[in-house]
């Protein structure tokens, strides 16, 4: 129970992100919510890689290789996920620049993209 505090923090981060996406009106804040969800998922991945009293899985000048090492795969997955998040963020922000150029507003209720204006 008390050992699962990091997992509860992950759930809280994801829920805060969802709340931001659903209830906020500003496009920038929606993007912030998406990055919150993403950081929650990354935190979950990196949390899964931890084992009790373990060290980093690197053998270079490592005093004792027999001690338990933390899992290497989640760190690799988190690296991939972070880079993907950067790419998505860049594209979304450039879309927002153009949306502001066209609609002169960032209110999500006005950026509806109806038929040809």
């Amino acid at each position: 129970m008390i050992y699962n505090i990091p997992f509860i923090a992950v759930a809280a981060l994801i829920l805060i992100g969802l709340y931001t996406v659903i209830f906020k009106r500003n496009l920038i804040k929606i993007v912030i919510g998406i990055t919150l969800i993403e950081s929650g998922v990354n935190l979950f991945l990196i949390t899964l890689g931890f084992r009790k009293d373990s060290v980093a899985p690197i053998f270079t000048s490592n005093p004792d290789v027999s001690q338990t090492m933390s899992l290497p795969v989640p760190q690799a997955l988190t690296l991939t996920s972070i880079v993907i998040g950067v790419a998505v963020l860049a594209l979304m922000l450039s879309f927002i620049v153009y949306i502001y150029r066209h609609y002169k507003t960032l209110d999500v209720r006005k950026v509806v993209g109806g038929d040809d204006e």
């Binding site: 969800i37 997955l77 979304m92 153009y98 038929d115 040809d116």
Partner: protein
């Protein structure tokens, strides 16, 4: 010569994804030479990819499941640490769709995109879309699936915003990337749950290690995957992004977008049938009311949910399509209805799945639904290409301003008629064969479903008769007096798809026996898919 063929066939699964990736990386360099050379290069790369994909599909249909491990050798049963591609008949069936659509799109773009700027990035992104779609259809590794999903989403979003001088195109692209990134993040969350539970990322290993008595975390992962993939596959009421995205993107991009949407739908089927295939028979709960024993299995529950969503999709799609005034948005809502038809058939098959599926009518329903995936991709693709041709000639797609185009564009009119017959399920086109199977099998399962399906199909016919009347028929409008037929490349692209449609329509039994039935069997038995990796359950 012979060993070259054997060498290529040994590495086919790698080539199918790696060749379009290499082509995409090379495109910025090739486009320094000239536009014509860049177009020819893109056509060559896409044709090569299609040939490899068809060869791989043929190999799988003849020799059974193919696995390809990246970066090392692997003996069945040892610890699965590397990424691998696993292609069974269902993946091969999807590969056929992915081989047809991007080639037609690239050929179409030669004439359709002639006046545009930034074409080197356009070809790069459309090749990346193709590579991501193929990877989604072939991979056997969950996290690798997520990576390809993100590649496809980012490339699609950038291409939807191609016409940046239109505000609604950029707005549609923003909506699409918000939807797809949130969906992909929840897919990643589910993958992380599986990893934390079973310390595995391979689909077959996960499916092998999930206990038959599902835990709470497994249920949460299943729900997250189902909801996220349903949103990516544009199932109502999460379909609204599709109308914007399909309607605003250039038609050549929309044709590839159809393939990516169907790839997400396939991933949902894979999750239900393969990863949780062992738990489908498991009873979720059982009550005794008045001495009667009620028990609902996971298969019943998921099937009922999917059928409900499917009926909603068909209803909303048809009714909204009837009211649209924009031609491409109308076809987009029709695509929503068509996806509903597939989901209706497969959901009905899941709902009645108990013991052996072959005994029940669900087997026909499953075959019909899988058959309809191919037909829908071809029909909607042809209609979008025709809509793009109309836009190319008349520079607008609002059906209020169009009229009398049949006098100027004869071939386009013929292609639109073929697409109209096919998509609204009129004989002798291919849409009729699969829809007939769906009607009869769902009638044996529950008559109301097939009644709804038939009525909505009639409404679809009404929608397209209206479009045909108001766009192509009618008096020759003065503002289109100088309208000409579209360039030859666009006609070739439309002709390819039209010929395949007519072939499937005239000889449906060949396709059903050689392609669809193996795919249905492969989707139905998860044990062989798992046994190919773990060596027996």
């Amino acid at each position: 010569m012979n060993d070259i063929i054997s060498f290529i066939s040994a590495h086919l699964p790698a080539f199918v994804v790696a060749v379009p990736l290499l082509g995409a990386f090379l495109t910025p360099l090739v486009s320094r030479i000239g536009d014509k050379s860049r177009n020819i290069f893109a056509i060559i790369i896409t044709g090569l990819t299609s040939i490899f994909a068809l060869l791989l599909a043929n190999d799988v249909f003849t020799n059974g499941i193919r696995t390809y491990v990246f970066g090392g050798d692997y003996a069945t049963g040892q610890t699965m640490v590397r990424i691998l591609f696993e292609i069974d008949a269902m993946n091969a069936f999807m590969l056929i769709i992915a081989a047809i659509l991007p080639f037609a799109a690239i050929v179409y773009s030669w004439g359709f995109m002639k006046e545009q700027t930034g074409l080197d990035k356009y070809y790069t992104l459309i090749l990346l879309m193709t590579a991501g779609m193929l990877g989604m259809m072939m991979t056997g590794d969950m996290f690798n699936f997520f990576v390809f999903l993100e590649i496809t989403s980012i490339a699609s979003a950038a291409l939807i915003a191609f016409w940046t001088n239109k505000g609604n195109a950029v707005a549609a692209a923003f909506k699409y990337i918000v939807i797809s990134s949130i969906g992909a993040l929840f897919v990643l969350f589910a993958i992380a749950l599986y990893y934390g539970q079973y310390n595995a990322l391979n689909m077959a290993v996960i499916a092998d290690s999930i206990p038959v008595e599902m835990g709470f975390v497994d249920k949460i992962a299943l729900v997250l995957l189902l909801a996220a993939l349903a949103m990516k596959a544009a199932i109502a009421p999460m379909h609204m992004w599709l109308a914007d995205a399909y309607g605003r993107a250039p038609s050549s991009v929309t044709v590839v977008l159809i393939g990516t949407t169907l790839a997400s739908l396939y991933a949902g089927f894979r999750v239900i049938f393969t990863i949780h295939g062992n738990q489908l028979e498991q009873a979720l709960n059982s009550w005794t009311i008045f001495g009667y024993e009620f028990s609902i299995s996971l298969a019943n529950m998921v099937g009922i949910l999917l059928v409900a969503l499917a009926v909603l999709s068909i209803f909303i799609g048809v009714f909204m399509a009837l009211k649209q005034v924009d031609l491409k948005k109308m076809i987009a809502y029709t695509a929503v209805a068509e996806i509903g038809y597939m989901l209706l058939a497969v959901g009905a098959a899941i709902a009645v799945m108990g013991g052996d599926l072959e005994a029940t009518a669900g087997y026909t329903a499953l075959k019909g639904g899988i058959f309809h995936i191919l037909n829908d991709a071809l029909d909607i693709g042809l209609l979008f290409l025709v809509a793009g041709a109309v836009y190319y000639t008349a520079k607008q797609t609002s059906i209020n301003k169009l009229g009398g185009l049949a006098r100027n564009m004869k071939y386009t009119t013929v292609f639109f008629l073929i697409g109209l017959f096919a998509v609204s399920g009129l004989p002798p086109m291919n849409g009729f064969a699969s829809k007939l199977m769906i009607y009869e099998s769902t009638f044996q399962i529950n008559p109301i479903l097939s009644i709804v399906a038939i009525l909505c199909s009639i409404l679809l016919l009404a929608v397209f008769v209206k479009v045909f009347y108001s766009v192509f028929l009618g008096p020759k409008l003065p503002k289109f007096a100088t309208a000409k037929e579209v360039p030859i490349s666009m006609l070739i692209a439309m002709g390819i798809i039209a010929c395949i449609i007519i072939f499937i329509g005239l000889f449906p039994d060949i396709v059903l026996q050689n392609v669809v039935t193996p795919a249905a069997n492969a989707l139905n038995d998860a044990s062989s898919y798992i046994a190919a990796i773990t060596g027996g359950i």
